[in-house]
């Protein structure tokens, strides 16, 4: 039994819309960072480098 063309078309159309929905929270998050000026990833980079300086075990050879 084959899938009917109507269903096939709706699957394709809705799949494209889904890609947009998947990306929506990521886009909105970066939009909020742009508005508020926050850069949380930079904060994490700084924390990681401080930890590496404090604890020599974390230093790469």
């Amino acid at each position: 039994m084959k899938i009917d063309p109507q269903t096939q078309k709706s699957i394709l159309r809705n799949a494209l819309l889904s890609v947009f929905i998947y990306l929506l929270p990521i886009g909105l998050m970066f939009g909020s960072f742009y508005i508020t000026g926050k850069r949380p990833w930079k904060q994490q980079q700084r924390t990681t480098s401080i930890n590496k300086n404090i604890n020599p075990i974390n230093k790469k050879p």
Binding site: M1, T7, S18, I21, P25, L28, P40, Q44
Partner: protein
């Protein structure tokens, strides 16, 4: 507040959910909601589905998160742990639930896939007994679980904890035979809440309609209502049917009680029921059994149908597969 929710989520994700399902199940039985439909065959299938798949799946997920991903992408471990909680929550909730919507929808709309999902629909009742009932291959290939493990590895583990708890709560209560959403439709003052609720999350009314043995009769609609945690996907993609009513009969109209082991392990093991979709030469998708019209004594020219579970053969499309 967040600590309190965290404690609840942790407890639920641990032994909390199995305990909740058992408690609800006992309550459903005490209220007689299974109506003697829980035969020995159904009983074994439901219990094995409840216990066995999580035991098989746990080591696979542990391997993926603890061995495989650290081996192939070690540099990305916790790479996105900087993502604020609220955004992490939305990213995980959408990624997980939308992926499950698609996994579920494709198993209904692609005839080849239907038999892997059929086991979940063959139960002629709703409730905790059938909530975990699945073919083992269907459970094993749950795409959203693997996606979530990857996102947890990338650093979204904390919001994932909350999403998992919320999702399991919503999905469990949507399958329950206790119709908790009824008061929202009954009392006018609650109608605005009902309007939002039934469009946002899965409720017994919308999810029971998906498990109906009939479709297009105004109540049952197994051609849609695919959403698990969020019903919103069905609203967006036009697969929603909201009636605020509950079907008279659940399951598959042509179900003849395929052996529990065949339902659990098809296509490795096949059903002995002649003509079943799970039998050796059975069809991928069998057509619904249509109720016979009976002539009313009052007016013999206008045939009436015995039940509300009528589906016109004219409406039967190849995609109408359960």
């Amino acid at each position: 507040m967040i600590k309190f929710l965290e404690t609840i989520s942790q407890s639920l994700n641990g032994l909390g959910f199995p305990a909740l399902i058992l408690l609800l199940g006992i309550l459903e039985f005490s209220l007689g909601l299974y109506e003697k439909r829980w035969t020995k065959n159904e009983r074994i299938l439901d219990i094995v589905s409840f216990i066995f798949p999580p035991l098989v799946l746990a080591p696979v997920l542990a391997f993926l998160g603890l061995k495989f991903l650290p081996h192939i992408i070690p540099q990305y471990h916790n790479a996105f742990s900087w993502v604020p909680f609220i955004w992490g929550f939305f990213i995980i909730a959408i990624a997980d639930d939308l992926t499950q919507y698609w996994y579920h929808r494709l198993h209904h709309q692609i005839p080849f896939l239907w038999r892997f999902h059929r086991t979940h629909h063959s139960a002629p009742y709703m409730g905790m007994a059938m909530a975990s009932r699945q073919n083992i291959i269907y459970t094993f290939l749950f795409s959203q679980i693997y996606l979530t493990v990857i996102l947890v590895y990338l650093g979204l583990g904390y919001p994932a904890l909350f999403v998992r708890a919320l999702k399991t709560l919503i999905v469990t209560f949507a399958h329950s035979s206790i119709k908790w959403d009824k008061p929202f439709y009954k009392y006018k003052i609650l109608h605005p809440v009902a309007w939002v609720l039934e469009r946002l999350i899965s409720t017994p009314a919308t999810h029971h309609a998906h498990h109906s043995s009939s479709t297009d009769d105004g109540v049952g609609y197994y051609k849609g209502n695919f959403g698990n945690m969020f019903f919103l996907w069905d609203v967006i993609f036009g697969t929603a049917h909201i009636s605020r009513r509950y079907p008279k009969a659940y399951g598959i109209s042509h179900y003849e009680g395929d052996e529990w082991y065949a339902q659990l392990l098809w296509p490795i093991l096949k059903s002995k029921k002649e003509g079943s979709e799970l039998s050796r030469r059975g069809p991928a998708v069998r057509e619904d059994i249509v109720a016979e019209p009976v002539l009313s004594s009052a007016d013999q020219h206008q045939p009436e149908f015995q039940t509300a579970t009528i589906k016109s053969l004219n409406n039967l499309s190849p995609s109408a597969i359960n």
